[in-house]
Each structure stands twice: as structure tokens, then as C-alpha cells.
């Protein structure tokens, strides 16, 4: 009898504990404390930015915004290497952890369905967007809608040593001649410093392919890589590698920038605003103080260049869209952009800044004109996969694992497969259209 009673008691306890798990949700949803919590949450803004200076700039504005709008701001930051996963997991699961998210422009097509279109906000508030650089603001649009304000537009440019190179090259042939002339591996000097670890190859390939006259797909996203231009771009990368440190195939941005700052290369292909601009004139970190300058990559046929861009956008799941819009407006205002440039070297996205005579006298002067002719990569939903395919193809060719034929065949076949599995819909390939317009 005792045992039976004991078993019944255990069973009852188990049922009650399981049932209470379910009940809790219902009771929590109705409790006044939770209502209060929801109300408090709506006066809070949660922001997600990439770690580093971008997140620092966002954090620096928090106090001011809190005082002005009586709204607490919490800025979270995640490194680039895991940013895409973190942001997309949050958005696609509907967790709604963030009201504002900075999205890399190359992911815009993938993120757009989870973001709030800005068109109505701009219309209702009569927001004046005329000072944004047109090409930069256009890169924040997907399928005709604007999804956020541009942050830190950075054209991909080469940096060169002014004490070694009188005039930067205007063609890739000239570029190779100059690199060859300064390549002296025995003395630790190389023609070019490249970030040869896989993550930057999509950038390095596209900057050549676009200038030479072709995107990887036509305006309807029909893949066409294994062609004359594609092969020329790949061969050109092979040429470039001849004048680099053999260790550079394992270098990330940091190592390639450091090699240039230490005076070990005549040219550097890493994004200049991720370390060169900040440190090149600092004698503690650089051996090339006063001996460097920026230049666009050779224009070749189209002069089309690549740009990195972050789009500061509002999540569709945000419970406080009005405040989020106010935050965005403030973050993108001219005052703030100038402040962030002075403090963190975050490049402004405003025409008026780059046309300022004072800016034109700085080493950053070539950035403004370069932005006008720059495009962001991909944009379509399958962009992360395309990046990997491109990186594998270029890296295998440069590492000597694959011949040009094999690299181009893999590149073409795999891109076609990826696009076929995940077609981008009715959108047009604006890169191909822009390139064709010039040709």
C-alpha cells in the first residue's frame, strides 16, 4: 500500500511539474509584471553592429540619444566572421532581439525580407536624402525599396609607396611592371602585399573582372564566368601572386596591411581604411610615414570599382520602429558622420564631405571620386555561397592546386548550380547593367 502511494505521489509530482511548465507561459503572458516589462522594452532600443570602430561609433551615441528621446539604447557587437550567422539566425527565427541591425550590402537580398522598408518613413517625415552619394544610397536599395542608411562606404583601392612609385598604374600591365621592378624577395621586399587567405578573393577577382568588362552573370542572373574576361581576371590574379610574399596565401587583412606598413611591399591590395589610413603616419606602427598614397585600381575598360558598405536598417520585428527611425536619422546625420570620421575614421557617405576642399587636401582625397564609380558585390540571397565558390576557385588556382581550366570550370559550374537552386527572383543584376552601360 505504502509503495503504491509512493508511486502515485511520484507520478503526481511529475505531472504537476510538467503541467506547470505549460501553465507558466500562460500566466506569465497575463501577469502585470510582464506587461510592465513589455512597456519598458518598447522604450528600449537594441542595436547590432559589427565589432570594431563601427560598433564603437554606435555606442558613443547612446547616452545622447537616451537623454534626447528618453529611450535606453543597448549596442551589441559581433565580429565579422560570425556576424552573418548571428544576425540571420535572429531575424529568421523571429526572435526579435534587435531593433536596428547593420547589414553588409552584399547580403541585402537575403536580409531584405526581414527588414523594414524605409520608403514610407522618408516620405512621411520628408527626410532629405539628397546629400548621400547617389551610388552609395542606391546600394541600400533592393528591388526598388530603400532598406536603410549607408554606413562607412569604402571603395576598394590600392595603396602604394610614394617614395618608390611616382605615378600609380593606370593599366594592369603597368601595375605588374612596377610590382616586378620593386620585387626583391632576397631582401624581404615584395611588389605587392595581398590578403591571400580565402575570405578576400571574391573582392580581388571582382575588382578585376568588373574593370575588364564583365560581371559573373548577365542582367538576368544567367551565370557566365568561364569566358574571355573571366579568364583574363583570373590570369591577372595569378600574375599578381608572382610579386607577393609566398606566405601571403595565409594572410588575412591584418597581416597584409602590416607587411605594407613595415615597408615590405610597394603596393597593398587590402582595404586601406581597415588599418593603413589609421596607422600609416604613426611612427610607432609604420615605417612608411609620409610615403604612402591611395589610388584606384586600374580602370581598364569600365573603371568600375568595388565598395564595401554597411546598411543600418530596422528589423521588421522591432517593437519600437519610430524610435529606431529616430536613431537611424541621428546616426546618419551630417554632424554625427563628421564626428565618427574624426574619432573613429569611419568614412562618411555624404557628397558634401568628399567635396570639401579640406578633405581634398588629405591622403583620403581619391576616396570620394572612387565611391562614385563603385558597386557592392552580390546582393542576391545566395551571396554567402557564391562568395565561398569564388574563394575556393581563386584560392585553388593561386595555390597551384588547380589549372586555370579546372578553376574556371569549377567556378562556372558551381555558380550555376547555386543560382539554379536558389534563383534570385525577378530582380535584375544591376552590376551587369552598369557595366554594359559603360561598354
Amino acid at each position: 500500500m505504502k509503495n503504491r502511494f509512493f508511486m502515485l505521489l511520484l507520478l503526481l509530482l511529475l505531472v504537476v511539474s510538467l503541467a506547470s511548465c505549460g501553465k507558466k507561459e500562460a500566466s506569465v503572458a497575463a501577469s502585470p509584471s510582464v506587461e510592465k516589462e513589455v512597456a519598458e522594452k518598447s522604450s528600449e532600443l537594441s542595436v547590432l553592429f559589427m565589432s570594431g570602430v563601427y560598433a564603437e561609433s554606435a555606442k558613443s551615441m547612446s547616452k545622447e540619444f537616451e537623454d534626447e528621446f528618453n529611450c535606453k539604447v543597448d549596442v551589441s557587437d559581433v565580429p565579422f566572421s560570425s556576424f552573418h550567422e548571428k544576425a540571420m539566425l535572429d531575424l529568421s527565427s523571429g526572435a526579435g532581439s534587435y531593433d536596428i541591425i547593420s547589414v553588409n550590402a552584399s547580403w541585402l537580398g537575403e536580409f531584405a525580407p526581414f527588414l523594414e522598408s524605409m520608403d514610407e518613413f522618408i516620405l512621411v517625415n520628408k527626410y532629405d536624402d539628397s546629400d548621400f552619394i547617389p551610388s552609395v544610397l542606391d546600394a541600400c536599395r533592393w528591388d526598388g525599396s530603400l532598406y536603410g542608411f549607408p554606413l562607412a562606404p569604402t571603395p576598394n583601392m590600392m595603396t602604394y609607396r610614394t617614395d618608390l612609385i611616382e605615378t600609380p598604374p593606370t593599366t594592369y600591365d603597368e601595375y605588374m611592371e612596377m610590382a616586378k621592378a620593386h620585387n626583391d624577395p632576397k631582401n624581404g621586399m615584395y611588389g605587392i602585399s595581398i590578403p591571400g587567405k580565402k575570405e578576400q578573393y571574391a573582392v580581388m577577382y571582382l575588382v578585376r573582372s568588373w574593370a575588364m568588362g564583365s560581371d559573373v552573370a548577365d542582367e538576368n542572373f544567367v551565370i557566365d564566368v568561364d569566358n574571355e574576361v573571366g579568364r583574363a581576371a583570373m590570369r591577372q590574379l595569378g600574375e599578381t601572386k608572382k610579386y607577393t610574399d609566398s606566405g601571403s596565401l595565409s594572410w588575412g587583412l591584418e597581416e597584409s596591411i602590416n607587411a605594407f606598413l613595415q615597408g615590405n611591399a610597394a603596393f597593398c591590395e587590402a582595404w586601406p581604411t581597415l588599418g593603413i589610413v589609421q596607422n600609416a603616419d604613426n611612427p610607432d606602427k609604420s615605417k612608411i610615414v609620409g610615403n604612402w598614397a591611395l589610388a584606384p585600381f586600374p580602370a581598364e575598360k569600365t573603371g568600375k570599382n568595388q565598395m564595401s558598405l554597411w546598411i543600418v536598417a530596422i528589423s521588421k520585428d522591432s517593437k519600437n520602429k519610430e524610435k529606431a527611425y529616430e536613431w537611424l536619422k541621428k546616426y546618419a546625420s551630417k554632424d554625427k558622420q563628421l564626428e565618427f570620421f574624426d574619432t573613429y575614421n569611419v568614412l562618411p557617405s555624404l557628397t558634401s564631405f568628399w567635396e570639401d576642399d579640406a578633405v581634398k587636401k588629405t591622403p583620403l582625397a581619391p576616396v570620394g571620386p572612387a565611391l562614385e564609380n563603385a558597386m557592392t558585390k552580390w546582393g542576391i540571397p545566395v551571396s554567402a555561397e557564391l562568395d565561398t565558390i569564388m574563394a575556393n576557385s581563386v584560392s585553388s588556382y593561386l595555390a597551384g592546386s588547380w589549372s586555370l581550366d579546372r578553376a574556371m570550370s569549377y567556378f562556372d559550374t558551381e555558380l550555376k548550380k547555386a543560382i539554379k537552386d536558389n534563383p534570385p527572383g525577378d530582380v535584375k543584376n544591376v552590376k551587369a547593367i552598369a557595366i554594359n552601360k559603360v561598354l
Binding site: 511529475l14 550567422e85 529568421s92 525580407p113 606566405g247 596565401l249 595565409s250 540571397p381 584560392s395 595555390a399
Partner: protein, 296 residues
């Protein structure tokens, strides 16, 4: 003495089950449901980064796709080669270290503690540190090699050397694990049989081959099984040291499954890859268990 608390067999069984229910529930929620969900998903096309995406049943398409996926084939080849080389080396060095440090001297005890350092380091930290140490120009490894007249090696910049570097770091990290477990195995061997063989004139090598090794077999098979399965899950050190490059030289299967699931959000294909991985690991474990049963 009737009714003194002894349970009838039937009641005993029921009580046992009752006590097991909470644990079974946890296993059901944490293991069975996700696994079942993954199995279902592996037969579907699922894109988790597309809003309101309705999963489409595609039969065995995801499984068939693997045969036409060059990156999958390459990463499987790389992973198998990695496991074979790293686990073999770890076993070899683990046995040597265990034999050297199984004594009770103060030096052995100190060295055993020092030996644990690589093992307790987070793989990401270890990978990052070694990545810096392997740098061709500024790394401490080439600097040290310079003292003995060896030209700087391009550790991470060529496909073959990058693979060797990954294996090296894994061997550095996990050999102590082998050694520690084998030391406890060695300590359980009766000292008398070893002493008797030495008195009878056996050399140390013969004593190791004929006395120590046979008695270590059970431990060896067990640690080999655990380590082999664990080595197949290599991820962190590859992620931070090479990112799978140069080319596809260090692409490993877990990194590929991660990319499919969490970078491309291709959940259906990632699930099928994970299921194949689980099946392969289960088959491997079964093989080891059969081997153990056969031997003992």
C-alpha cells in the same frame, strides 16, 4: 517481517521506470526530437533564411547531391586523411610519453602536470596562437628553426604544409590526452609480472611488447575509439588557422556542414550531411566495439 518495505518484483520494475521517466523525458526532448526533426529535414528542401519558406519533400535528392558535390567529396577525403594521420601520431607519441612518465618520481609528476596544458587550452586560443607562431616572416617557429640553419618554412601558405600544420597542432593538443589515459592503464598492470620478466632476462623492449602492450589493449582500443570519433569533429583549429585554405587543402567535413547550415542556411542539405556523419560515426563506433568484443 511482512510489509517491512521489500517490493514485489512487478512494483520494483514500475518504480524503476518511474525514476527513469524524468531522464527519458530529457533525452526525448534533447536528443530524439532534434534527431527525428533532422532526419525528416534531410528529405526536404529547406531554406531557413527565406521567410515563410515551405519545406518541399525531395526524397533522396539531398543524399544524391553529395555525390556531385566536389567540396563535400574533398572535405570527406581531407577529414579521413586528417584523422588517420593525427590519431596515429597521437597514439604513437601518447604511448611513448605514457611509458616515459608513468613512474612515481617527482619529475614524472611535474611533467604530467605540464603535459596537460595543451589539452586544457581552448582550441580557438590554441589555433590562434599557432597561427601567429607559424607565420612565415614573424612567427617564432621559423625564428627558432633559423638557429639550426633551417630556411623559413611556409607553414600555412602552401596546401601540403597547411595540412601538415593542422595535423601538427592537433597532435600537440591531444597527445597528452592519450598519454594520461594510457598512464592510468599502465599503472593498473601488475608490477610483479614486469619484474619477473626482467629477472628472467627479458629486455625492456620485449617486456613492453609481450607484457605491457597486451595488457594495455583494452584501454588502447577504448581511447582509440573515443579519440577517432572526436578527431572526426575537428572544427575550431581549422576555422581559425586556415579557414579551409589554401585552395581546399584543409576543408574538413564539420566545417562544411557548419557552412551549409549556418552560413548558407541550406538546412535540408546540412541535415542530410549531418545524418551521414552520424551514421558513419555510429558504424565506426560499432566496429570498435566489435573489435573489443572479439579481443576480450
Amino acid at each position: 517481517m511482512r510489509g517491512s518495505g521489500k517490493l514485489k518484483p512487478k512494483n520494483d520494475l514500475m518504480t524503476s521506470w518511474l525514476f527513469l521517466v524524468p531522464a527519458l523525458l530529457i533525452v526525448f526532448v534533447a536528443v530524439v526530437i532534434p534527431l527525428g526533426n533532422s532526419i525528416v529535414m534531410s528529405f526536404q528542401k529547406v531554406r531557413t533564411n527565406v521567410p515563410n519558406f515551405q519545406p518541399v519533400f525531395v526524397g533522396f535528392d539531398n543524399y544524391m547531391q553529395m555525390f556531385n558535390d566536389p567540396l563535400f567529396i574533398r572535405s570527406v577525403g581531407n577529414t579521413v586523411l586528417f584523422v588517420l594521420t593525427s590519431v596515429s601520431l597521437e597514439l604513437l607519441f601518447g604511448v611513448i610519453l605514457a611509458m616515459m612518465l608513468s613512474g612515481d618520481s617527482k619529475t614524472s609528476r611535474i611533467l604530467r602536470s605540464i603535459m596537460l596544458i595543451p589539452m586544457i587550452m581552448a582550441p580557438v586560443a590554441a589555433g590562434t596562437t599557432w597561427r601567429m607562431m607559424f607565420d612565415k616572416n614573424t612567427g617564432v617557429v621559423n625564428f627558432m628553426l633559423g638557429f639550426v640553419g633551417i630556411e623559413p618554412l611556409n607553414w600555412l601558405g602552401t596546401p601540403a604544409m597547411a595540412f601538415v600544420s593542422i595535423v601538427f597542432v592537433d597532435v600537440w593538443r591531444m597527445t597528452p590526452w592519450f598519454a594520461i589515459l594510457l598512464i592510468s592503464g599502465i599503472k593498473s598492470i601488475s608490477g610483479e609480472s614486469i619484474e619477473a620478466s626482467l629477472v628472467d632476462g627479458a629486455t625492456k623492449w620485449k617486456c613492453f611488447i609481450h607484457i605491457v602492450l597486451p595488457q594495455l589493449k583494452r584501454v588502447l582500443v577504448l581511447v582509440l575509439m573515443l579519440r577517432t570519433i572526436d578527431a572526426f569533429k575537428v572544427f575550431d583549429i581549422v576555422f581559425v588557422m586556415t579557414g579551409g585554405g589554401p585552395g581546399m587543402a584543409t576543408e574538413m567535413l564539420p566545417n562544411y556542414i557548419y557552412a551549409q547550415g549556418l552560413r548558407y542556411f541550406n538546412a535540408g542539405y546540412a541535415a542530410s550531411l549531418a545524418i551521414v556523419f552520424i551514421l558513419a560515426m555510429s558504424a565506426l563506433s560499432l566496429g570498435f566495439i566489435k573489435l573489443q568484443e572479439k579481443q576480450f
